[in-house]
């Protein structure tokens, strides 16, 4: 069995080596890794299996939609198209010579990039899976769960009982849709990001920014008298300290979602970087001997990342629930804490 694994690892290593993009010049691990974890206009599963995604540009109020295929010639070199050029993963206005122009005011890029496409896939999965589960519940009311339903039911109940009920209190019910959606959205996208050819969606700061912003907005809108009272007149703190306390508390409002944003982004991106770095070792050392070791480590990291995928979804949901809980906390309860 052990020998079989080694054989398998060597095979994988060789095939990866064969595909390695080391045409002309030194292998640049940094560039390769950045390229892999960044967004892209094409979805490259393997050589020969590339999906060219649509480019949508809003240029001074004018909408331009075309396939990203036009940016590449037969040799997979970037070429200018329609007055635009792709350079370092970004679209710029092109000059007459096809060189990118620095000036890009009024140019907004709404392209369906690899990340957006990957998000659509995850969303489709989410909708299909949970609509199927919901219909099971509707069709067999009061019955024991079956199949996929019995896999997700404990997770849903865990989110409800351990995350929402435990941290929000009696008003947990109205936050359930957000918490469940955020949990499964993050988890599914974390897992899809680990698939071969998957996009690094939850490791993209734009995505985590929006999720954290939604948590912030919900927190602010559900903040009751006690919540705001704590911020503008912290109980037990002398009034003359208010000029210091109020800014500190106001900053505190924003550091919480900021930490949510950075935590998810950094954890997922770091995992991808580590796995890619381990693979890069093979090309840095230019030796097949490093292959099995590298793949073994990468496999271990992959298992760790599977755990991290769930853990980060849990942490994001848990902290969101705690912030909501703090916002709707009743007075006598808050007295106990402070």
């Amino acid at each position: 069995m052990k020998r079989l694994f080694v054989l398998l690892f060597s095979f994988l290593t060789i095939s990866a080596f064969a595909e390695a993009p080391v045409e002309g010049g030194e292998f640049q691990p940094g560039e390769m890794i950045t390229h892999h974890i960044a967004d892209d206009y094409i979805w490259h599963f393997a050589d020969g299996a590339t999906v060219y995604l649509p480019v949508i540009l809003l240029d001074n109020g004018q909408l331009n939609v075309f396939s990203s295929h036009h940016f590449y010639d037969e040799n997979h070199e970037t070429v200018p198209y329609n007055g635009y050029v792709l350079e370092h993963g970004r679209i710029y206005r092109a000059s007459q010579e096809g060189e990118p122009l620095e000036e890009h005011a009024g140019l907004y890029d709404f392209s369906i990039t690899k990340n957006v496409a990957s998000m659509f896939v995850s969303v489709a999965l989410l909708l299909i899976i949970f609509f199927v589960i919901a219909s099971r519940y509707k069709n067999n009311p009061g019955k024991a769960p079956k199949g996929i339903q019995s896999f997700f039911e404990p997770i849903i109940i865990f989110v409800r009982d351990e995350i929402a009920k435990a941290n929000i209190g009696p008003k947990y019910e109205r936050y359930m849709p957000y918490l469940l959606t955020v949990f499964f959205f993050i988890w599914f996208n974390n897992l899809l990001g680990l698939m071969p050819g998957g996009a690094n969606l939850t490791g993209n700061i734009a995505v985590t920014l929006i999720l954290a912003l939604l948590t912030l907005i919900i927190t602010l809108f559900s903040g009751n008298k006690n919540y705001w009272g704590h911020i503008f007149a912290t109980p037990g703190v002398p009034t003359w300290l208010a000029p210091i306390m109020i800014p500190v508390e106001l900053i505190g409002i924003f550091t919480k979602p900021f930490s949510l944003m950075v935590r998810l982004f950094a954890n997922i991106t770091a995992g991808h970087i580590i796995i890619l770095s381990l693979f890069s070792l093979i090309f840095i050392f230019r030796s097949i001997a490093v292959g099995p070791l590298s793949v073994a480590f990468a496999t271990f990291m992959n298992f760790l990342e599977l755990f991290v995928a769930l853990l980060q979804a849990y942490i994001f949901t848990l902290l969101s629930a705690m912030y909501f809980g703090g916002a709707v906390e009743e007075h006598d309860h808050s007295e106990e804490h402070h």
Binding site: I56, F110, M119, F120, F130, A134, P141, M176
Partner: protein, 164 residues
């Protein structure tokens, strides 16, 4: 640097998509799922509490039955005891009555016998007196001529005789 500068495109698509998903899942998945879970939990809870209630009722019924049975047993014992007592007292009364009656009859009989005896004695006395007078008369008829003197003499004798 590109890593930490969010792109407008992804921000836009993420916001739109996430909000749509949140709405769709919230309305068509989480709501029915949460409701179904809640319903099932409450139905299980109800069933459990109903079972508990039934158990308590059963216990109460059993206890009632036992109480009734014990009461019935006590009642039976009481009735039996009363009946025995009643029987005993009837027998006792009857015996007493019989005794009394016997005693009364005995007394009556004795009295009757006494009366009869007295009557018989008086008769015997009278008869004896008449006979004695008759005998004496016959005797004296010969010896005494004056029957009056003879009668007075006999009378004197008779009163001199005390019977009993």
């Amino acid at each position: 640097m590109e890593l930490v500068t969010p792109g407008i495109g992804l921000i836009f698509w993420q916001t739109v998509t996430f909000l749509i998903v949140l709405f769709l899942l919230g309305k068509f998945a989480w709501k029915p799922i949460m409701k179904a879970l809640h319903d099932r939990e409450s139905s299980i809870e109800n069933a459990l509490s109903a079972a508990e209630k039934a158990k308590l009722e059963m216990q109460a019924l059993k206890a009632d039955n036992e109480k009734l049975l014990a009461e019935a047993r006590l009642e039976r014992d009481r009735i039996l005891k009363e009946a025995t007592e009643a029987g005993n007292s009837i027998v006792e009364t009857a015996r007493e009555k019989a005794n009394e009656e016997g005693a009364r009859m005995l007394a009556q009989a004795r009295e009757a016998i006494e009366n009869e005896k007295r009557a018989a004695i008086t008769e015997v006395k009278n008869m004896a007196a008449a006979l004695s007078v008759d005998i004496a008369e016959r005797i004296l008829k010969r010896e005494l001529n004056d029957p009056r003197a003879q009668q007075a003499l006999v009378q004197e004798y008779i009163s001199g005789v005390t019977l009993n």
